[in-house]
Subunit: 287 residues, 6 copies
Amino acid sequence: MDRHQLHDLIRAFLREDIGRGDLTSEAIFTDDQIGMARLVARESCVVAGAEAVAAEVFRVQNPQITPSRAVADGSRVNPGTVLLAVQGPVADLLKAERLALNLLQRLAGIATLTARFVERVQGYPVRITDTRKTTPGLRVLEKYAVRVGGGANHRFNLTDGVLIKDNHIAACGSISEAVARVRRVVPHTIRVEVETDTLEQVRESLACGVDIIMLDNMAPAMMAEAVRMVAGRALVEASGGVNLESVAEIAATGVDIISVGALTHSAPACDIGMDWDGHEVDVDPPA
Amino acid sequence: MDRHQLHDLIRAFLREDIGRGDLTSEAIFTDDQIGMARLVARESCVVAGAEAVAAEVFRVQNPQITPSRAVADGSRVNPGTVLLAVQGPVADLLKAERLALNLLQRLAGIATLTARFVERVQGYPVRITDTRKTTPGLRVLEKYAVRVGGGANHRFNLTDGVLIKDNHIAACGSISEAVARVRRVVPHTIRVEVETDTLEQVRESLACGVDIIMLDNMAPAMMAEAVRMVAGRALVEASGGVNLESVAEIAATGVDIISVGALTHSAPACDIGMDWDGHEVDVDPPA
Amino acid sequence: MDRHQLHDLIRAFLREDIGRGDLTSEAIFTDDQIGMARLVARESCVVAGAEAVAAEVFRVQNPQITPSRAVADGSRVNPGTVLLAVQGPVADLLKAERLALNLLQRLAGIATLTARFVERVQGYPVRITDTRKTTPGLRVLEKYAVRVGGGANHRFNLTDGVLIKDNHIAACGSISEAVARVRRVVPHTIRVEVETDTLEQVRESLACGVDIIMLDNMAPAMMAEAVRMVAGRALVEASGGVNLESVAEIAATGVDIISVGALTHSAPACDIGMDWDGHEVDVDPPA
Amino acid sequence: MDRHQLHDLIRAFLREDIGRGDLTSEAIFTDDQIGMARLVARESCVVAGAEAVAAEVFRVQNPQITPSRAVADGSRVNPGTVLLAVQGPVADLLKAERLALNLLQRLAGIATLTARFVERVQGYPVRITDTRKTTPGLRVLEKYAVRVGGGANHRFNLTDGVLIKDNHIAACGSISEAVARVRRVVPHTIRVEVETDTLEQVRESLACGVDIIMLDNMAPAMMAEAVRMVAGRALVEASGGVNLESVAEIAATGVDIISVGALTHSAPACDIGMDWDGHEVDVDPPA
Amino acid sequence: MDRHQLHDLIRAFLREDIGRGDLTSEAIFTDDQIGMARLVARESCVVAGAEAVAAEVFRVQNPQITPSRAVADGSRVNPGTVLLAVQGPVADLLKAERLALNLLQRLAGIATLTARFVERVQGYPVRITDTRKTTPGLRVLEKYAVRVGGGANHRFNLTDGVLIKDNHIAACGSISEAVARVRRVVPHTIRVEVETDTLEQVRESLACGVDIIMLDNMAPAMMAEAVRMVAGRALVEASGGVNLESVAEIAATGVDIISVGALTHSAPACDIGMDWDGHEVDVDPPA
Amino acid sequence: MDRHQLHDLIRAFLREDIGRGDLTSEAIFTDDQIGMARLVARESCVVAGAEAVAAEVFRVQNPQITPSRAVADGSRVNPGTVLLAVQGPVADLLKAERLALNLLQRLAGIATLTARFVERVQGYPVRITDTRKTTPGLRVLEKYAVRVGGGANHRFNLTDGVLIKDNHIAACGSISEAVARVRRVVPHTIRVEVETDTLEQVRESLACGVDIIMLDNMAPAMMAEAVRMVAGRALVEASGGVNLESVAEIAATGVDIISVGALTHSAPACDIGMDWDGHEVDVDPPA
């Protein structure tokens, strides 16, 4: 994640949540009233973004806030674990609190779910990847959380990967014509992937030398047959309706990649809260 | 929703998903290949954003796309219902498809969940509201979906509402001091709300004339007691751990407002897909 | 005022005044020629923005500029008082000078005029507020100056307050219908205000439980009658043609709020200049 | 004024005033309720920006608004004159009203004051110009209004004009050294101006061939002497404390330019209001 | 090229060249003085961007300008060929002229040079690609011109391609370790490329299954040896000091890709001018 | 060059080149792996932008990078000279390398070519200036390089200079009418320039008191005649087809300014590379 881009994103999100200021806190706290708080896991999870995102939210809100004790990304933690401690002006801690939690809960949720998928396929030489079914505006963060959870990323957007789907094939008349047209204009640094529904399409894809063959919504037995057919001449990706129950059986078919939309569109947020240490607060009334 | 702001948001989201262009579709389709597709509900839901958001996504991507047959916001639809039809250059339909679906699924999900909460409290003079637990960057859209689902909005951000919490009270020494400080600087157009954990705090809040008393995580019996104590002299808001099971019992206590974080942070996306009508596509190869 | 938003504003204003650079000063001064100057009140005024705005203008222009001796906001000062001292590269002092003065003169002007209105109503339990008649682009600063001068703010924009005017009433057929429609969609955190021209409208407003009743351009006697009629069941706001001559009489009617467009649209700028201490300047010619 | 830049400015100003929407009007009006209104002069003035600015505000808010009957810039009008008529969705007319009036009142005020200065010097071959004492963020508009009022513009910013002041001269040791340093780096398309306080400085400036000599706060007799001394070899600009009473006497000294800060920093806003034609409004309640 | 992004770019470039307006043309032309002009090739070239870029510059400047007769991208034209005709307000044609020419000359220059490289390797199954040595801010346009000229694009930026260089190898201790680390985190949709200086490195790269082997500054004989060694198991890219004289010999070695920095960093601009048809101009003086 | 504007430019350019991150370097280097490198001239050149631009690129990419040993702008250096040394995190050095080199090579190229033109006219009281034929988006940097090379700048854009061309004259009917119209609206701080093709036009321009007369594409003898005719009553600028061969002869005609488009549109980039000092790199594998 690029520092400048992350900061721009955080500033926009803070502005959304804060507006022109926190009416309540600014009426009550002066700038020199310092507080301390901890972001604490309320349930077991795989941490993602404590230092890289949540701590940055506080720093962007006010560089005088000092984050500490950030748990490393990818750590598995138990309920009650402090994921991040923050110290600084109370009003700024309050202004950053909601956004830091919203982001951290979501990213930890994605990392945790990803880790569960990865566990299910342990032992198989397969990678679990995300899709483009991410939250608008948060893709760079959500794909980061997938990596933290042990998964890998699929293409980031429509420019840095090629996926020939049924519409494209229909418009060209054949897979080979579609692949030929794409090859002509696509940088040689990018692999060409074709979405297939049938073994016949797998065969046609192989014949024209595609790099990645996506098996779309195939039954495991058919996937296994496709993998045998490909025999290492292309990467094979399973896609469509993958869940925690089915993923191991799919991995057993020998596919190289399993892409899972649920990693980002259906990961439940982790329960993470912010506990205040009130004793640090200077309760002298503001002048 | 402001037109300029919505378009800016959509442009940023399209840029995230498309990058500099759709390598695959631009290699295959020419600008004059026209297609037609339908966004179709795969499950029952309350529609939110078919015209106001999804259709705009397509229009922003290319003003030559013609959306039609948009289902009105708030409609309850059955599986198979066409929520929006779009016609235009195939490459642009493909570029806008993912974002339009991502947004529509999420907004319909929120409206649908909100409607379920609203149904549960039917007959009670209570309003179901959202919270600030929205997706960063999407608050204006998600709060719109809550209204579409029959709910109401709580404050949008920290500037347009006052909520005095335990930190504020602790820093001031008492609720009355906190309220006094806030009243001095807050526009008279904005109500002052205090978060209470005990009936003693409710009493203290009433004594200093707060406008809204939030009952935070109280048991229903205690809420009912608080409502009796308030006796119409302030609005009473129930908050904390509200779910579909508990909401009716809470409404029965006589509170005026029930705020529900789950409306936005836990609404499952509705299953909505895009079906293509292939026959419209001109399959002549591009020159 | 949010730090990020203030800095963005200042950067835009500096760019307007400086363009791509100060042709004259950059031809003459090197970066290591240090100067010192003082912003000095040329007339009596209430200070607003010496530290919060003018000092920030200099810091944004060049973080190496050290502002000092800033007079606290709200101070009443005599002619000759130093409001802010600045030390740093001469070329940058010259580039920031015009903007710092333009803003400080305007904000002090608003605070000074506000303070005069507030003085006139001393002893009455009334608040003097601003309106939306602010300078485009400067609202957040001008409303800050009103608070500094002892006034309070009315709604910031059309989103964070409700004001039902004659057009709205005409379109609905009645005040009660207008209020009902608005209540349905407005967050419970925001009070509903109605603009009234007659006592009949005041009565109708009261009957439908509006929170704030604006008396628009009424004569003092009529205002007093309206206040009696309301009897504490709503806030009462006087509006329209208020000036320093009339404000005390209006306050005497018992209204809670007097909104005064003149605070921002007609406050004469305070005369504040920048005096240079030439002896600090290194007059060695640049290499 | 560049169309793109003007629209960006207007969008920013509308966003400031409207926020995320007009709570009141959106609750009451549907998009198909059409209204008509007129911006009407309440006092005599020179019009500036009726078509170029106010009409654009309405068009930017909603392209479906049709402005008409715009009075030409520079026209002198009597009280009651319609400066602009607008027709379109009522909610959008209400959203744009405040900004359109705020800008038009200010620009007409500047044009009107400028015209008064210009009248006072009629018959003298002198131009009345503005200064950099403009409202931050509005310079391009305010300088436009000065031209509309019959005045001319001084440099727009520190990049497109050279003005050597006492600080610069002190740092260089002499006017000639300051001029020499500036000439070396300044484009030949830009004239070099020097600020002078004494006739000796005028002589020195002439000797080193400056293009414009500013007479800063000189008495009229001394100005006349300076003009004789210059004898057409440079442009002569009078500056400092010019007002409607003194301007004719200054013009009589023979100076070429009189720059007047008051044109922009002290022009009282013209009284312009918006009158609604209620009969056009469809009062059917929204569905 | 994305329409929104292209327009944003053009608007920024127009603002750079025009500033706040064209002092000269706005003083002379009224909006209704219409002119006609033609962009004409002064030398033979391959056209790139007549419609896609130059015509857009005019449209963005003023939508009332009508471009016509745009020569198709990739066309080879002789001196005197009209590449684009434009008709519209003279002042706007003058404002857009410089930018349209600057861009068209540069893009045609790149396309023309690319076409010369492509011709030299005709008959060889090799693709000529660009590099990251593009003009800052213009990469998307310059890479487009390369494709128009018959070349192909290398990776667009550091995110959408992998190139392991000597620094990376040194830091890892070996090519295989570097490749292993990269493979773990890179999307499977992106090929891994390694820069090699020796045949030993080519061998090591092959052994760990890299997808693309770059031969950096190797002599043709050594390249040929490398190609034999690779034997189709990876793509082979020649890089470093390629010019029109050497490119055919390099192609003859059997490499798959030849990347040429000169395509973008050293392409001479094509000589293209704008001829006016003065008879269309209405010479009536403006009112 | 304004610091804020330069940083905004650099951030945009870095984003173009880096995208969302450097896939390769981020996979291999940890943040605490520090490297050192030198930007070295591979050929003789006049340095421009080592400190002002290239060092800033590295600082913007990561403030932890320490640039040092920057060669002063305007220095003539031999091949092998270190122009800038940089030390910091290796991954960030690699991310900034390409942009720093692209800019430095281009700016040094312009300064070097400008210096060659300036040398050719040594002894003549003439200034060599640039034109508007700069790279879109880079004008402020390229014009800076021209000054570094000993040249001067012509107008920056269409707002800060006046140039009356044949279109303008044709539309007005005569030079004198064109000049009159322009004089009326142009600030007195800006000189008026007229483009002339014939001695008759020179005479007409003189007669109406223009400040600068451009001789467009005249033969040297004709230029000399024009200079005699003008006799110091206006600045004389030679323009059109100036090159290193012709420039001295043109200077000998006595013109005051020679404007040369080639300075910016045809300056070959200087060969500057980045040499790494590998021994500084910590080769411990990342944890």
